[in-house]
Symmetry: C2
Subunit: 318 residues, 2 copies
DNA sequence: TTCATAGATAGATAAATACTATCACATAAA
DNA sequence: TTTATGTGATAGTATTTATCTATCTATGAA
């Protein structure tokens, strides 16, 4: 057997009131009820907690020693109640957001402030992972929602498209392309094309590009991150197509590598917000997606293309 | 409405097991019972705590935020249970012992170690107060038990006599009495007799002595403690009858004042242990009283007289 | 004594809790 | 595809628990 919160509260009340009757009145219950509860509590614990007399009731030394525990228990219970009361807009708790490492650091800083402005109580814990692991992790409830790139591998996940992020051609400043106004598709023929590790979905897209333009994909020199890729490009190892938001964030402000106009078809990866279907927080996620789209439109429209249709979205694949 | 410990435990169990069925089995209850309890908990709090799916159940961000609170609550409850289990010999908790300032410091150090040896788990909080306040405080549950001097003013308190503590004649080393082998009752005639403040019951006894031997009670110079009384005696202000245990503890080891043989009737105050009648810890108090008597007999029999009769005890009054 | 008030008790009722049996759905294996 | 297994939800019932009203006994104060 185990004590009840109610019984503990009753005991505390009697100890404060100094009598069963007084406590019963304060608790708005009948005195026999109180007596019964205290009795069952005492027999459950096997300890006499109160010393009854005609003058009232006082704690025994044993009963006194329980009071601190009871007080913290009641405090914690009150905290739960308070917390639950605040949870009107389901803004309670910490939401775990998963993002691909090739996108998160260059996109989230743009939108997080606005999200916090719209949902002041919302706490978001961000963790990076490859899109594949993000989707599996979402299914296994390691994340509450994720930003991932299309196409998704796991079906039956609710998604809200955000935007298409084009890939931008990047080369070293001393590369021949640096002189040209625009690079034509034929110019890529035989060029050394660098790519990121295969576990990133971005790799597939880079591979598609290499294939389409007969460029040579340097598989022995795959970058473990976009930053290492940038350094490799800077040493003249090759050229690469990098995500536009990364270029905006890490290429444009520096001079070690440069971006070039590419006079050919635009390659882009689709970016979407996803969560487990049936989640009652779907409405919140949709609002967050809307904020992300709005901010993207307002501050990033030079770099990405927005695609607002929410059905039949093909993920921006070519 | 308020959550139940049971419901909180159920929630925690589901979150750990990852499914209702698994948790139900672990909790040894039926799954519908678990479902019902979680449902009522959710509706009570007004928050969705678990995300159900065909694969099991996972905490929502809100539910996750409650877990730390729930864990501390369950820990505290477990602590209460553990504490109660230890409370076999009612040795749990802290017992508040009240003692007169004219006795406690000179008697307790002799017996406390033995008490702790006999009851290793017993914690005793000692507070000093005048016997009158001790008795009232005992009645009002400010103390669990007291050492007091007889006769008691409040009836219907359970008492266990301990011993009689004689009063010993004390004077300055340069007083005429210091030369005598023994002081006779007639010698006290007209002597300046010092006494402690009236609020101490010891005052009554000192007054009785002064009256009986026609000594002069210096009421303008009442000591606030036995120690101040000792200092007053040392300056030659007068002589006094002081409790034997005080004399043993504070007079004999020093040279500032000396004790003298008094060739007259022995005055003594009765000392007893007292508690509220009906207390279920009476047995413990009786055992403590027995220890006090035994220790007194073994180590203090040169200074006090033991009176083992437990009924019809007159408190050592003359 | 008389009165007010303390906790204890008896008996009835309402509420909460638990169970069994079953359903509907999803996933994985045959 | 079919089947088996596992998920949570639901219906209905039995039991346990919590609560109430009415009453009792004992104590302390007026």
């Amino acid at each position: 057997m185990e004590p009840t919160i109610k019984q503990l509260r009753y005991l505390l009340s009697v100890s404060q009131a100094g009598s069963f009757r007084g406590a019963a009145e304060r608790l708005d219950i009948a005195q026999p009820t109180l007596t019964a509860q205290i009795n069952t509590l005492e027999s459950k614990l096997g300890v006499t907690l109160l010393e009854r007399s005609r003058q009232g009731a006082q704690l025994t030394p044993a009963g006194r020693s329980f009071i601190p525990f009871i007080e913290t228990i009641l405090e914690q219970v009150a905290s739960i109640g308070r917390l639950a009361k605040e949870a009107d807009g389901s803004l309670i708790g910490t939401y775990r957001l998963g993002v691909p490492p090739t996108l998160g650091p260059y996109f989230l800083p743009e939108v997080i402030p606005t999200i916090h402005q719209s949902f002041p109580g919302l706490k978001i814990f961000v963790r990076e992972n490859a899109p594949r692991d993000l989707e599996v992790g979402l299914l296994h409830s390691e994340y509450d929602f994720i930003i991932t790139t299309l196409p998704m591998e796991i079906p039956n996940l609710s998604i809200e498209p955000l935007f298409n992020e084009p890939l931008v051609l990047v080369c070293a400043p001393d590369h021949a392309f640096a002189e040209q106004d625009a690079v034509k598709p034929d110019d890529l023929h035989g060029e050394n094309l660098l790519a990121i590790e295969e576990k990133h979905r971005l790799f597939d897209l880079m591979q598609t590009i290499a294939l389409q333009f007969s460029a040579r994909l340097l598989r022995d020199y795959e970058g473990t991150s976009l930053d290492t890729l940038r350094h490799m490009i800077g040493t003249g190892l090759g050229i690469a197509f990098l995500p536009a938001l990364y270029v905006k964030s890490e290429i444009t402000p520096r001079k070690d590598v440069i971006s070039i106009n590419f006079d050919g078809p635009t390659f882009a990866r689709g970016v979407a917000l996803a969560w487990r279907p049936g989640s009652r927080r779907a409405e919140l996620y949709k609002q967050i997606a809307q904020i992300m789209r709005t901010v993207s439109h307002d501050t990033l429209s030079d770099h990405i293309t927005l695609n607002m249709q929410t059905t039949g979205y093909d993920g921006g694949r070519l």
